[in-house]
C-alpha cells in the first residue's frame, strides 16, 4: 500500500458525492417549493430563476422534487447495497475458510444459479408477479447483489489463508472465528470497499432504468427513476423535464466511479512498466 498524495479522481469523487449528499439532505434549505404541490398554471415551464430546473407536467418544481427524491433513491440504494455487502462478505469468508466442504459446494452452486439470472430479468419477473414497487426491486437486489461480493471475498480468502500470518495465528491457538475476523477480514475489506463503490453506481443505474420503464417507485412520490418515467411522455416536447433527475443520477454515479477508481489507485495500485 502506498500512502502518498490522494489522486485527483478520488478527491473529485468525494467532492461530487458530498455536494450531492448536502443538497439532498438539506433539501428544505435549498428550495422552498413543496415537491408534491402542483401549480397547473406553470406546467412544463422551462428553466428559470424561479424554477431552477423548470416544472413538470403538473407544474411541480423539478429542482425541489429532485432534491427530495434523492432521499428515497440514495437511501434505499445505499441500504440495499450495505445489506448485500454484509451478506456477501459473510458468505465469502465462510465458504473461503471452509472451501471444499459440502457447505462450500452448495453455496457455490447457489451462486452459479443466481448468476444465471440477469438482474433485469429477475426484476421483471418479480415485479410482474408481485406488483411494481420500489420495495420489490430492493428485494430483488438483496437476493442477487451479494454474489459479486461473495465471489471476490472467497477468492481473496483462498489466496490469503495459506499465508504465514494465518499459519502463525493458528499456531498461537486462534480459533476459527478469530482467524476469520482478525486475519482474513482486514485483508478483504479494501478490495471489497472498492468494489462496493462501483457496485453502488451500477445499482443506482439499474434501479433508475427499471423505474424509468415503470417497474419501480410509483407516482406521485418523488424518486429519480419514477420522475424519469413521469417525464418520458413529455421529453420531446419539453426536454428539460428529464434534465434534473438525469443530471443527478449521472453526477452521483460519476462521483462513485471517480471515487472507486481513485480508491483503487490510492490503496492498491498496479505497477505501470515503461517500455
Amino acid at each position: 500500500m502506498s500512502k502518498g498524495k490522494p489522486p485527483l479522481n478520488l478527491i473529485a469523487g468525494i467532492v461530487i458525492i458530498s455536494v450531492i449528499c448536502v443538497l439532498v439532505m438539506g433539501a428544505p434549505v435549498f428550495t422552498h417549493y413543496n415537491p408534491l404541490e402542483q401549480y397547473p398554471e406553470e406546467r412544463l415551464s422551462t428553466l428559470s430563476k424561479a424554477h431552477l430546473l423548470g416544472t413538470d407536467r403538473f407544474g411541480r418544481d423539478i429542482f425541489s422534487r429532485t432534491l427530495y427524491g434523492g432521499r428515497t433513491t440514495l437511501a434505499s440504494s445505499f441500504l440495499a447495497l450495505v445489506c448485500s455487502l454484509v451478506l456477501g462478505l459473510l458468505i465469502g469468508l465462510t465458504t473461503g475458510m471452509f472451501s471444499g466442504t459440502i457447505f462450500d459446494i452448495i453455496v457455490m452452486r447457489i451462486v452459479d444459479v443466481l448468476m444465471a439470472f440477469p438482474f433485469m430479468v429477475l426484476a421483471m419477473i418479480i415485479t410482474a408477479l408481485f406488483g411494481t414497487s420500489l420495495m420489490h426491486l430492493l428485494f430483488v437486489v438483496a437476493i442477487i447483489w451479494w454474489v459479486p461480493f461473495a465471489r471476490l471475498t472467497r477468492s481473496i480468502v483462498l489466496q490469503v489463508k495459506n499465508e504465514t500470518s494465518v499459519a502463525a495465528a493458528k499456531v498461537l491457538g486462534a480459533n476459527t472465528r478469530a482467524i476469520i475476523f482478525r486475519e482474513l477480514l482486514p485483508k478483504v475489506i479494501t478490495p471489497i470497499l472498492i468494489l462496493a463503490t462501483f457496485e453502488l453506481g451500477t445499482l443506482i443505474l439499474s434501479i433508475s432504468a427499471l423505474s424509468f420503464l415503470g417497474l419501480g417507485a410509483q407516482p406521485p412520490n418523488p424518486e429519480w427513476g419514477s420522475m424519469l418515467a413521469d417525464g418520458r411522455a413529455h421529453f420531446f416536447q419539453a426536454p428539460h423535464v428529464l434534465l434534473g433527475p438525469a443530471l443527478f443520477i449521472v453526477l452521483t454515479v460519476l462521483g462513485l466511479n471517480f471515487m472507486g477508481e481513485g480508491l483503487r489507485d490510492y490503496l492498491d495500485p498496479y505497477e505501470i512498466i515503461k517500455l
Binding site: 452459479d112 415503470g214 420531446f236 443520477i249 505497477e271 512498466i273
Partner: protein
C-alpha cells in the same frame, strides 16, 4: 480434456435444473389465482357469475393439474418446458414460443451489431490507452470511459433519438426492425457497454507488461513492436470471458434500448407483457433468458479451454483462484 468438458456439461445441466426450480417456486409463491388470471380474457369474463364459469374453472383446475402435489406439478411443468410448450399469451391468445421466436431475429441483430461495436472500440481504444498509459490520450480515453459508464443507457438513447429523429429527421421513428433503423440503437448499446471492455483491455495489457517474460524480452533488446505483440496476444485471452459477461449485460440493456427505440425484439415484448400482466409470456421469457445465459457461460468456458492450453487440465478449485 474430454473429462473436463463432460464435467462442465453436467454442471451446466444441474444449474439449469436448479434455475427452473427457482423460477417455479417464484411463480407458485406469487399472489393471485392462476385460473382467474387465465380467465382474464374478455370472452371468459363475460360469463362470470354463471354456472358455465364455475364449470370452466373446474375444468381448468383439472387441466392445469392444480389438484396434484407440487412435485408432480413441477415435473409436468418441466416436461412442457423441455418440449418448448410455454403456454398461450393471455393478451393475444397465441403460442408464447411462436411469439418469442418471431422476435428473436430482431434482438439477435441488435445485440450482434452492439457486440461488434463494443469489441472494435473496446480493443482499439483499450490498446491505445495502454500504450499511452499516463499520457494525455490515455487520460482522455479514461475520462470518456468513466463518463459513459455513468450515464444511464436510456438517457443516451433519448438524447440521440431527440437529436437524430426529432431535430434532424435522419432517423425514422417506427416499430419496424430493419437495417436502416439498426444503427442508432446499436450505437447506443455499444456506447454504453464499450467502457467496461476498454478498461479491461487496458488493465490486462498493463499487467501483462509487468510479467517476467516481458522483462526478459526487454533485456534481450527486442524491438518495442515485437514485445507489444507478445503482450497483446496474452492480454486478449480474458476478453473471451468478458464477452460472455457483456452478453448478459446486453440482454439487460437491450430491454431498455428496445423499449425506447420501439425495436420489436424480445426485450421490448417482455417489457410490454410485464405492464399487461401477461404471465405466460414473462415466464417463457425468463426461462429462455436463463437458459441462454447458462449456455453462453458454458460455451465461453469451453472456448476458453480450447484457446488457453494452460487451463485444459485444471480442477475447478484452482481455476476459481485465477478467474476471480
Amino acid at each position: 480434456m474430454c473429462k473436463t468438458v463432460f464435467r462442465r456439461l453436467i454442471g451446466a445441466v444441474i444449474t439449469l435444473f436448479c434455475a427452473t426450480l427457482v423460477l417455479f417456486i417464484i411463480i407458485r409463491l406469487a399472489p393471485g389465482d392462476p385460473i382467474e388470471i387465465m380467465l382474464g380474457r374478455p370472452g371468459d369474463l363475460a360469463i362470470k357469475n354463471t354456472p358455465a364459469y364455475e364449470a370452466r374453472v373446474a375444468e381448468l383446475h383439472a387441466q392445469l393439474g392444480l389438484d396434484q402435489d407440487m412435485l408432480t406439478q413441477y415435473g409436468q411443468w418441466l416436461k412442457r418446458l423441455v418440449s418448448l410448450e410455454l403456454g398461450t399469451s393471455i393478451h393475444t391468445g397465441r403460442e408464447v414460443s411462436i411469439e418469442i421466436a418471431e422476435r428473436i431475429p430482431a434482438t439477435l441483430m441488435l445485440s450482434l451489431a452492439a457486440i461488434l461495436i463494443q469489441l472494435v472500440s473496446g480493443v482499439v481504444f483499450g490498446i491505445i490507452s495502454a500504450i499511452r498509459a499516463g499520457k494525455i490520450l490515455d487520460h482522455v480515453i479514461r475520462l470518456f470511459c468513466v463518463f459513459f459508464a455513468s450515464v444511464p443507457a436510456f438517457v443516451i438513447g433519448l438524447v440521440l433519438l431527440m437529436f437524430f429523429a426529432v431535430t434532424y429527421h435522419i432517423y425514422e421513428i417506427s416499430g419496424d426492425a430493419n437495417i436502416y433503423r439498426l444503427w442508432l440503437p446499436a450505437i447506443t448499446l455499444g456506447l454504453v457497454s464499450a467502457p467496461q471492455l476498454i478498461r479491461m483491455v487496458r488493465a490486462n495489457i498493463l499487467s501483462e507488461l509487468g510479467q517476467t517474460y516481458i522483462v526478459s524480452a526487454i533485456s534481450r533488446g527486442l524491438p518495442k513492436k515485437q514485445i507489444m505483440r507478445h503482450a497483446l496476444k496474452n492480454a486478449m485471452l480474458p476478453i473471451v470471458t468478458m464477452m460472455a459477461l457483456s452478453f448478459t449485460n446486453l440482454i439487460a440493456g437491450s430491454v431498455v434500448i428496445e423499449s425506447i427505440f420501439s425495436w420489436p425484439g424480445i426485450g421490448n415484448y417482455a417489457m410490454n407483457s410485464v405492464l399487461l400482466h401477461d404471465y405466460p409470456v414473462i415466464q417463457g421469457y425468463a426461462v429462455i433468458m436463463v437458459s441462454v445465459v447458462i449456455m453462453a457461460n458454458l460455451l465461453v468456458e469451453l472456448l476458453y479451454m480450447l484457446i488457453d492450453p494452460r487451463l485444459r487440465n485444471r480442477s475447478r478449485l484452482e481455476r476459481g483462484l485465477e478467474n476471480e
